[in-house]
């Protein structure tokens, strides 16, 4: 809702703009590349523009392209997009207390335009939800400011990329830039041994099960990796909370755990 005067006239709006400004060229370069990648993977101009304007989520757009081109069923594409977007589910839990005072459609609009960088900047600046209406307004205005610049630089650069793509021959294989982008995000998520394991297992499973119809190898690979990692976690928890006479407290929490699951 960054076009609301009560927000863009607020001094915090400018602050939000200023804080995200150093990130804008990076966002623009990524948008440019996504625009080119969409066109070079065989989408029509109208589809690419619609995807840019509506979806506004680079990683799920890029993940959807090969599936869309291969004619995978809609639910596989949507489920893959949702899984790639699951990091935002975690963000929404974090941001919830900051925006719950707003009516539902307003807070969902804020959530819709809040991508990774705005989330990081916002949570770096504000550690606790505003207590007074003024504080809440200031936080909302800051978020609106950073979302505004992030959104505009993404949109403009993606649309420029869609136009530029027409002048680049498909034989250059520039669509591969989209895969490299996903690879980079994948590396950025590899923050623990278990996550690296999940990544390796899913990659192998997706190749092994490639012959499955309807691109179901993607869903299969995600399921195998997640189930395997959750099972390993259970084993680890259990081996760490092996009941000994000294650790009565531990055993109790372990027990509660199992009942909850």
């Amino acid at each position: 809702m960054f076009f609301h005067p009560k927000l863009f006239k607020h001094p915090e709006f400018k602050l939000g703009l200023r804080d995200i400004a150093p990130q804008a060229p990076g966002v623009a370069a990524w948008g440019l590349m996504t625009g080119v990648a969409m066109m070079k993977s065989g989408m029509s101009v109208f589809e690419a523009v619609a995807m840019t304007l509506l979806v506004f989520a680079g990683s799920s757009q890029l993940a959807a392209i090969p599936l869309l081109v291969a004619g995978a069923p809609a639910w596989v594409i949507l489920a893959t997009g949702f899984c790639v977007n699951l990091r935002f589910v975690v963000f929404s839990l974090h941001l919830r207390p900051f925006f719950m005072h707003l009516p539902r459609w307003e807070r969902l609009t804020h959530a819709y335009v809040t991508a990774d960088i705005s989330y990081v900047l916002f949570t770096r600046r504000f550690h606790a939800p505003g207590q007074t209406p003024e504080e809440q307004r200031a936080q909302e205005a800051y978020m609106a400011g950073s979302d505004c610049l992030n959104w505009s630089s993404w949109m403009v650069s993606s649309l420029v990329g869609i136009v530029l793509a027409n002048f680049i021959p498909p034989s250059w294989g520039l669509g591969f830039a989209g895969i490299l982008c996903l690879l980079g995000i994948q590396c950025s998520l590899a923050s623990s041994r278990m996550r690296i394991l999940a990544s390796a297992v899913a990659g192998v499973a997706a190749v092994v099960a490639y012959a499955l119809p309807l691109k179901l190898n993607i869903v299969f690979a995600i399921a195998v990796a997640v189930v395997l990692c959750l099972t390993l976690e259970r084993f680890k928890e259990r081996s760490m909370s092996t009941p000994t006479p000294m650790q009565k407290g531990n055993t109790q929490t372990g027990g509660q755990h199992e009942r909850r699951d």
Binding site: F46, A63, I77, G81, L183, A200, V226
Partner: protein
Amino acid sequence: MNAVIDTVFAGTDVWSLAVIVGLAMVTVLARGFFMISNQPWQLPHWAQRGLQYAPIAALSAVVVPEIVMSQGELITTWQDARLFAAAAGVLIYFAKRDVLLTILGGMAVFLPLHLLLGW
């Protein structure tokens, strides 16, 4: 004018547009997931833990086949520009921690191999 309209809409089909609208709703659902309900609520424990692994698994499941397969078969040659570009991309990411540099560096390896050597 008609030619422009033809170019813009060429290859557009209703099914793809429906999927695109669906993906937009997925964006709203994911980014606003915990803001939809007015009541505070929690995911079950297993789902919270699953959030740790599903995103990287989904990316890997999409990315790896796009690097090591062509026409539905595992590639049998190492002379493939994608392998070198991906390896360079991973190295650059862990050296610089920057997705943009990963893309640029990977493409700087990919394009010469692909265009000059035909890999």
